[in-house]
């Protein structure tokens, strides 16, 4: 009897110790059971994860509270003080993409940062914070100028619109007097990541007027925003492109019809390695500048252009530093989804203060991780490179894949496309480099830019020491579907483990997140013969989630 009592006491002691350790440090990775936290179907949490005292408090204070607070203060900062929240509320009431996707922003953080701890959590969250801040800056500028909401005509005159795939750098010469806001970066691109329900309305709208359902859903959705009259009237003139592919040309035709405003079409050439094409592209940039001068009456300012290009080069140099650490050490703290989204957003948007502020913070964390040899992903089993066009409704698959299988997505194609700085030593060099940067646009350089570029995968795989490929398989991307077989052959010939991830860019109805997970699960069990790190993450239903 007494023996049993002492055993029980010991048992209690152990339990208390383990509870205390869980409270202070959080559970070890394999015991977390993150899948048990979900409310069925919704992706909501029964309760948010307890990450240990320090990390939970960091998440609560420096991510949740901090970002909710800044989501209000940024609206005031970029919306003209106290008028900002009123303007914002009117915008929410008028535009679906704004109201429905702005509010669940913190859940977007949650999904991307699940299971993360320490420096990795901090560095990744700063990337998210920067994207939210830049998003607020952009939509507050739209709303201030928006003639649908009775916006200021002076601000309207000084705001240019452009396709999200036209690099913001084209407008640097006017950044001291005017601003440029991409048409689709927030209404389409950002909303897909934050709340995937929104974009479905726009895809359906495109098909509702008799357009076929088989083109790329990105192009359909970008047209659908106009068809549903959900675009603020914030600009006197617009610059469009054919980016990434023919579907976008169709979108531009519809946009031109529905905007009925002066439009400059600046298509990026497909075969951009040709020096003659390069020359043509450089001249086209100059023509675009002439168009802007004529439409706005504002003169081209070369000094302003050089200033911003040099600042952009600073961003690129830090990006190279990050790649260096990611490629050659285990101490890179930024997770796959933060790396991918921040980089594509920043490199496409161009020079903005928030990227510099964020890079300064991240640099400190990066240096600390390298100096102190902090591995934020200690259970990495495979170093993964993600290639081709990514699923926007499941950009956080990398977070799931690490938590469930130890698949650590080190780098992705979209991060790598703008692998260059821009010379500013002479006007001609600058223009040539700007043309190249413009040509290396999202999905163009590697996805539909020719065999040589799409097969750059092998070089980057080696450079980043990756042993596995997550091969995105956009089912409605005609260009990438055309090279499917070639990749299959190469993977076999090179003996590379590659998981094909089917998806339909923004449209979760074609391939759901849970189908994507089951494909990865099948590969990991049947081909790799591995056991999951957290079995509760193998199967769960988040079909109605954001």
């Amino acid at each position: 009897m007494s023996e049993k009592k002492s055993y029980t006491r010991q048992d209690v002691m152990n339990k208390v110790k383990s509870l205390a350790s869980d409270f202070w440090n959080g559970k070890p990775h394999e015991e977390r059971r993150l899948g048990d936290l979900y409310v069925d179907k919704t992706g909501l949490y029964k309760h948010r994860e307890w990450r240990g005292f320090k990390d939970t408090m960091y998440y609560f204070n420096m991510i949740w509270l901090y970002n909710y607070g800044h989501m209000i203060s940024d609206i005031m900062k970029y919306g003209g003080g106290l008028k900002g929240p009123i303007l914002f509320a009117r915008g929410v009431w008028r535009y679906r993409w704004l109201g429905q996707s702005y509010l669940p922003v913190m859940h977007w953080f949650d999904r991307g940062l699940e299971g993360m701890r320490g420096e990795g959590l901090k560095a990744s969250a700063w990337h998210y914070r920067a994207m939210v801040s830049e998003t607020i800056r952009q939509f507050m500028r739209m709303l201030q100028a928006d003639q649908n909401l009775g916006g200021d005509p002076e601000i309207w005159k000084k705001t240019l619109a452009h396709d999200e795939t036209v690099w913001g750098g084209i407008f640097y010469p006017w950044r001291d007097r005017m601003d440029d806001v991409p048409l689709q970066m927030i209404p389409y691109f950002v909303t897909c990541h934050v709340n995937n329900h929104v974009v479905l309305n726009y895809i359906d709208a495109a098909q509702s007027i008799g357009l076929p359902g088989d083109p790329c859903p990105m192009c359909q959705a970008e047209a659908g925003i106009f068809i549903l009259d959900d675009v603020p009237d914030y600009f006197p003139a617009v610059v469009t492109s054919n980016e990434a592919c023919d579907g976008s040309v169709g979108t531009s035709v519809l946009q031109d019809w529905m905007m009925n405003k002066p439009l400059f079409a600046m298509p990026q050439p497909m075969q951009f390695d040709d020096p003659l094409v390069q020359e043509h592209c450089a001249r086209e940039i100059e023509e675009c500048w002439k168009f802007i001068e004529e439409q706005t009456g504002e003169k081209f300012n070369c000094e302003e252009l050089v200033k911003h290009l040099e600042r952009q080069n600073e961003l690129q140099r830090f990006e190279w530093e990050k790649w260096e650490v990611a490629a050659n050490t285990d101490y890179y703290p930024i997770n796959g989804v933060s790396q991918a989204l921040y980089r594509i957003y920043q490199s496409q948007d161009g020079d903005r203060d928030i990227w510099h502020e964020t890079d300064a913070r991240v640099k400190k964390i990066l240096e600390k991780c390298v100096e102190n040899k902090i591995n934020s992903y200690p259970l990495t089993r495979h170093r993964v490179i993600a290639w081709s066009c990514a699923p926007l409704y499941y950009s956080h698959w990398c977070t799931w894949a690490y938590n469930c299988w130890g698949l650590n997505c080190i780098i992705n194609m979209d991060s790598l496309m703008f692998d260059m700085t821009i010379r500013t030593d002479s006007y001609e060099n600058m223009l040539q480099d700007m043309a190249l940067y413009h040509e290396w646009a999202p999905m163009r350089r590697m996805a539909v830019g020719g065999m040589h570029h799409i097969f750059e995968l092998w070089e980057y795989m080696e450079r980043f020491h990756c042993d596995m490929v997550m091969m995105y398989d956009q089912l409605q991307c005609k260009g990438m579907q055309g090279v499917h077989g070639l990749f299959e052959d190469e993977f076999r010939a090179r003996n590379i483990h590659a998981i094909w991830m089917p998806h339909a860019l923004p449209d979760k109805r074609t391939v759901s997140r849970s189908e994507i997970r089951s494909i990865v699960n099948d590969y990991m069990t049947t081909i790799m013969h591995e056991e999951p790190l957290d079995p509760t993450l193998l199967e769960f239903d988040d079909s109605e989630g954001w």
Partner: protein
């Protein structure tokens, strides 16, 4: 002095109370639940019912204004 101390004490308790309430909202994902079950359906209904211009009624003109830059 005493009044100041009392005010500070009340402020302290108010702030602590608010902080604890916010932590409960955070931990039990009450913000997510309120947005998912309440705000989003409400807003979505509102957007569905909104009157919108019919884009097909617009005439597609390509001749005005004139902006050619091919010289």
């Amino acid at each position: 002095m005493r009044a100041l101390l009392k005010t500070l004490k009340i402020l302290f308790f108010l702030c602590t109370g608010l902080y604890i309430i916010l932590f409960i909202v955070f931990f039990f994902d009450l913000d997510g639940k309120a947005l998912f079950y309440g705000v989003e359906p409400f807003l979505s209904n509102h957007y569905d019912r909104m009157k919108r211009k019919d884009p097909l009624e617009k005439i597609y003109s390509t001749d005005t204004p004139n902006y050619e830059y091919n010289d």
